[in-house]
Amino acid sequence: MNYELICGLETHIELATDTKIFCSCRPKFGAEPNTTCCPVCVGMPGTLPVLNEKVIKYAIMMGLAFGCEINLNSIMERKNYVYPDLPKAYQISQNSAPICIGGEVVLPNNRKIRIHHIHIEEDAGKIINKNGSIFVDYNRGGTPLIEIVSEPDIRSPEEAKEYIEKLQQTAKYLKISDGRMQEGSLRCDVNVSVRKIGDENFGTRVEIKNMNSITFIVNAIDYEFKRQVEILAEGKKIAQETRRYEEKLNQTQGMREKENVTNYRYFAEPDIRKVNLNKEFVEGIQRELPELPDLRIKRYKTLGISSKSAELIARYVRISDFLDETLKKCKNPNIAANFIIGTIFSHLNTEADKEEFKIPLNSNEFCYLIDLISKNEIDQNNAKQILIKSLEKKGSLKQLCDEFTKIKIDFDISSICEEAMSLNKQAILDYKNGTEKAFQAILGTVMKLTHGKANAEEAKKIVQEKIKNDKIFI
């Protein structure tokens, strides 16, 4: 029997606002426990929340990016539950009137994953188990989050991956989040059910909580799909439950039985006024919305950049911004793109390095190099060596370029070639007798004599010419 996967995601994205959602604390990843919190975010009796306006703005930006309808009259609500990392015993969130409604995420295969809604909420603290004791760190408490709730439109683990990557990439383009999954800035609750292909009704849904790695999410969905299909094939029923993904075993395991209706006792937060917005406010945000990745890729392609390169560059907003900066002054998009992908990418080893994009040169210098290539003053090979040197912080790119062109002017390539040929008489004979490799020895000497500054192509031509025309070496 054939089954299909039905999957929906609840994606929490930490917003990169300067201050927390209801107080003026500045969250900092990796800070000493309980040092970035105040009476408000640890819920000391009598304190009151004041909603950070930036949080509303950022949520609206995300909504507009995916074509959501913006709710001009949304409200904050209390979600009541007891847990030691939740110091007020309620999370201030949204339920009945979230800020963004509807919208869709378009995957690379053009499939559309509908968004149910996007809401604003505060993050909780963290439980730390250590030496048999339980500690609570409230640093993360009150960090602003948006939760993007999809419809159950995802049909494969790969689509889940693409969907999350799209959200992550968009959040970075909007500069509303750093989207670092390893630091928990993006976390997912995954809802998985299966049904026979052709069935209209959904099967019983299982929720896998709190995942913060795309690989694990893909594995967990894969595992859960197979598990459920197996159960159904045996004629048994799926239990509605919350499961946890065990990384080491690559399995999901049951956590606690979930009631049919979760009882969070939602009600309107009396300490925060209704979030009443006007259309002009939303339109203003729409106008300021930056160019999003899909459009950027399109634009790169019209500039003659290959679609593979365009996609690769657009994946990292900082790298893409760097290219755009360069293109403001530089007339050769293709060379620039190739150098970014060929040389700069290989210098930035990890994904995190590419995200961070910390390089010791600016777009002006980069443009200077590309221009020299266009004017044929540096060949691609030397340009690459100079760029690597500069990336390794062995000098500023501009300086290295200038040194190179200066040395080149200082020597006469023709006489250097002659000198190299006189030092490699045997090699010339070998070359003439058909040993192609021998030619490299001559070029090697040219490079040695010019400290690598000679244009290899130029030298090659000169040497070949000299061998052909001049018999003196025979």
């Binding site: 009476p39 640890v42 819920g43 000391m44 009796p45 009598g46 304190t47 009151l48 929340p49 004041v50 909603l51 209390r78 009541n80 007891v82 030691p84 110091p87 007020k88 015993a89 309620y90 339980i134 609570v136 209706v261 009882n263 969070y264 006792r265 939602y266 009600f267 309107a268 009396p270 300490d271 925060i272 006024r273």
Partner: protein, 487 residues
């Protein structure tokens, strides 16, 4: 005092003219407090008070001017957070809780130089109308120590009429300032919701709570109100508009003012109270007011709305007391869940538990539409209905309480009986308008009777003007004990 009709002005004058030093003054109050006749205080801040008083004296002797509230002894209800001074909410749960920050209203008074004598006894987490639910024992009514002082701000009211503070700050969620003011024969002002910052006031029901002054006279209430009514960016419900200050318009002529009497509150009440209220109406007629009766049958829902919404909000507000970060924690527990259960079971008293259970039930998903949502809608309806009433009247006049001060254990077996003590007061909290209770006479047992006035939201100026004019005609505050008697 008669010449000023304000103990604050009187003390200010005594201090400025050096007839008494601030330290002497504070010592007198502290000596009285130590006799502990009424169990009005939970914590007495003797050292801090004397130190602050010495600073005031230094200022006066060096010839500097002092502010109106400088050196004036005040007490605070124990839900108002005071940095470094324990704030118990009258509960075992917070018996040893010391806040790390000041409530805004206390911060303002402190900056104005008021001297804190201590923290008043009150019903546990402000839940009660008799001050019997306090973990620290009941407060006695200074008029008659066999009677309750009312609640939940019972300690504050007893302090003012018992001469243990020049004035006190309390809170009012459904009548918790006005009902004790009425039982103790003093003035209790509940400002409009949004007038006084709620920041730092440990909440019972966030959409109802409002802090205000308990004073001997209307002028005192006006002085304190004008000081503490300020926009606070830390409280999103704080009114950001300019305030209608009250002091300058206290003595304005009120002839032609339109006063409405709701028929619903003139029937079925204690007859002595009704005849006293009728005398108040006559006084206003003599002052040139236009009196008319009106009927608003929907006010019969006011009590139900209040107890549904208040319990719902309270159940959520009190969730944070789990024994983990602060507050009561049992000596032995098996795990985190057990710790939370035991902390709450042993830390909270019966009335608090009752309201948490009610509120949790009301908000649970199967009932929220029947109770919470319906009550919300009715609250909005009532707000609109009163808005039209205020098109016809400037002031609404009614009794503060259905009875005068009752004895202890009045509602021992029937909590509803106690809840009904709020019947005349809750509406003002529901529709967020300002209300004041002022003394207007005594019953046959010589217990004080209070009359209550309502005004439109943020019109404390009209409210206190009307109250002051009445008080000028019939001043019936008795200072039954303590230091306030000296003036």
């Amino acid at each position: 005092m008669k010449s000023h009709r304000s103990i604050i002005l009187k003390i200010h004058e005594l201090l400025e003219t050096k007839k008494i030093s601030c330290v002497e003054l504070i010592k007198k109050y502290l000596d009285e407090i130590k006799k502990n006749k009424f169990n009005a205080y939970i914590t007495v801040t003797e050292n801090e008070a004397l130190n602050s008083a010495a600073l005031v004296d230094k200022k006066i002797s060096s010839g500097q001017e002092i502010k109106l509230l400088e050196g004036i002894p005040v007490s605070l209800k124990d839900v108002i957070s005071t940095k470094g001074i324990r704030t118990t909410c009258g509960s075992r749960m917070l018996e040893n809780y010391v806040p790390i920050y000041n409530a805004t209203c206390w911060e303002i008074l402190k900056n104005n130089g008021a001297i804190l004598l201590g923290k008043n006894n009150q019903d546990e987490f402000a839940m009660g109308a008799s001050n019997e639910t306090s973990f620290f024992g009941p407060v006695k009514n200074p008029y008659d120590i066999t009677k309750v002082p009312g609640g939940s701000t019972g300690g504050g009211a007893a302090s003012v009429v018992g001469g243990l503070a020049a004035f006190s700050i309390g809170t009012d969620t459904g009548g918790s300032l006005r009902q004790p003011a009425s039982f103790c024969g003093i003035v209790g002002l509940k400002p409009s919701y949004g007038s006084v910052s709620r920041y730092g006031i440990i909440p019972m029901a966030s959409s109802f709570d409002q802090a205000g002054p308990l004073t001997l006279t209307v002028k005192d209430a006006s002085i304190v109100y004008d000081a503490i009514s300020k926009f606070d960016e830390k409280d999103s419900s704080s009114n950001s508009q300019a305030r209608n200050l009250t002091y300058d318009s206290l003595d304005k002529d009120i002839s032609g003012i339109r006063i409405g009497i709701p028929k619903e509150f003139m029937n079925g009440m204690n007859s002595e109270i009704i005849s006293s209220i009728k005398n108040v109406i006559k006084t206003y007629e003599n002052l040139g007011a236009k009196i008319d009766y009106f009927s608003l049958p929907e006010v019969k829902y006011a009590m139900s709305i209040y107890y549904v919404l208040m319990c719902a909000e309270a159940s959520s507000n009190l969730g944070r007391f789990d024994g983990i970060r602060y507050g009561f924690r049992p000596k032995n527990y098996n795990n985190v869940e057990d710790l939370i259960i035991r902390s709450r079971s042993e830390g909270f008293g019966d009335e608090v538990k009752r309201r948490i259970l009610l509120g949790t039930y009301i908000l649970s998903s199967s009932y929220t539409n029947n109770f919470y949502k319906k009550a919300q809608e009715l609250r909005e309806f009532l707000t609109c209905a009163f808005a039209s009433v205020f098109e016809e009247f400037d002031i609404i006049l009614l009794p503060t309480t259905p009875t005068t001060a009752f004895g202890f254990d009045y509602a021992e077996d029937d909590p509803i009986k106690m809840y009904l003590a709020d019947v005349c007061t809750v509406t003002a909290n529901e529709i967020k308008i300002p209300a004041i209770s002022i003394p207007c006479g005594f019953d046959k047992q010589n217990l004080p009777i209070g009359v209550q006035l309502f005004a439109p939201r943020f019109r404390e100026d009209i409210l206190l003007n009307a109250a002051y004019k009445y008080e000028s005609e019939n001043f019936c505050v008795k200072i039954v004990d303590g230091v306030n008697n000296l003036y």
